[in-house]
Chain length 314, copies 2
Amino acid sequence: VSIYLAVDIGGTQMRAASYPAESIQPLSYLRITTYSSGTTPLLRLYELISSIWPKDDKVAGIGVVAPGPINSREGILLAAPNIPEWRNLALQKELEEHFNVPVALGNDANLAALGEWKYGIGRDHHHLIYLTISTGIGSGIIIDDEILEGAAGLGAELGHITVLPEGPFCGCGQRGHLEAVASGTAISHWVQEKINEHVVTSLPANRKLTAKDISIAAREGDRLAKEAFERAGKFIGWALADFLHIFNPTIVIFGGGVSQSGSLLLNPINDELKKRVMSPQYLENLLVTNAALGDNAGLLGALALVRKVTIKEM
Amino acid sequence: VSIYLAVDIGGTQMRAASYPAESIQPLSYLRITTYSSGTTPLLRLYELISSIWPKDDKVAGIGVVAPGPINSREGILLAAPNIPEWRNLALQKELEEHFNVPVALGNDANLAALGEWKYGIGRDHHHLIYLTISTGIGSGIIIDDEILEGAAGLGAELGHITVLPEGPFCGCGQRGHLEAVASGTAISHWVQEKINEHVVTSLPANRKLTAKDISIAAREGDRLAKEAFERAGKFIGWALADFLHIFNPTIVIFGGGVSQSGSLLLNPINDELKKRVMSPQYLENLLVTNAALGDNAGLLGALALVRKVTIKEM
């Protein structure tokens, strides 16, 4: 039997799983810390993969999902948040030479989109937008069953389109991007600002608030907290209308922690989307929904990618 | 020898050309009016195609470019500006049944992009954005050598993304779209408004101004006219930064009358683009340029499309 390995690299932890040829039920699964004394993240990665390497079966390929920008055509990790020593790392080549099997590499949001498309809520769709709303806003886009990456792998950054020209600064250094007004971090910042302006709220003034704290307060009826989600949802819905005009997808999938806040965010998104779309045709046959695979979307996306690539090569 | 026909349908005129298998030099070319008494646009189209049908050679296929939204997978013209009787017209099927050869159908901006990609300034590029700036703003996008159309052919509408939320109304009925603030029509409207507010200008107050009039005044140093182009260019440059984050192309091509105004528009576009892009990597290996094929881009795009489709089918 041929086995596929999928690896999910993060700044704190990395994990790997092995799968039989056609299944998404792992045969083995392992999680370790990215850093450990006396070794390097790359050696940790080798260790992790070796640990789940099957004893008797052949490995058909390794799919790897990593955060940050990736040139997937050349298999180069341009940068990895929280792993500063990995800059322009030819990770695909390193792994292929070390393990002597085909390796495919992809960015986390892109592969989460691919995972949902292949094994999740996006099955049977050919045109898909995946938006992950957590501390930042990431995205993956499938067009005609292919991941959109752009010439150097820098595309599909839907969190970095401008919705408020002179708005707050974004993590990327620019201003007024969708991420800067509608991510979990942006929601917290906006509420914090209002609290500093002494807007009435049940939220405490003296500690750092998370989007989760704010969603709980909103559910309990706090007006400021509700308004914070309405505001974020409005920006997302409006940007989404733009995305429909650009991609005309049949499914839009929300992932990430903040999207778990349910109707708090989804209602204003849908209201604004309906208001802003330029023709009702864009909403026909369109499903707007939450992700199905949760934290496993990226890992399963890496599995989908390596299966796809090795099958193409055969 | 096999001959390809390409047809360009407009609300006022339609034209057709025939080409030998590999060349873009037409063997024959004909232009007629879309409307004529005692007949219909569809019969006029049949007439046009029959008139350039080769006497001795075999026709391998017909490529058709039309304005307005098209479901190109099913070959259906959803609507055609200025040809009101064509709504949901199954034009591909009509033509295939009438002429008994393969027919491929595409939207004008998409096929202008394809024309530039195959035979124009976009040759050798795999990721291309084409923006046509005239009375409206149209666009065509090539990703990995394929036209972006979306599930129902409604995608690639880059003129219809919001850049000024509460801005002027757009031709589509929405507000503040790129087209509503930066098209030729938008430039004229903005200048007209300023003239009504008695802003000092060399432009006449008592007649309708075109973007062309304004560009001439700008070149002669008129401050208001220059400001109009700077303002439009700023919006386009800013939107373009978003498009780079989404598509990461290697070439951006400007077509349409307004883009002929040269540095008046291109300078502010480039300035704003540089300011708004989130990483200089997006500008590496990026060519921002004017279109090469002029009015023939659509016709040559139709030729490229039908060659592509018939070769795939063989």
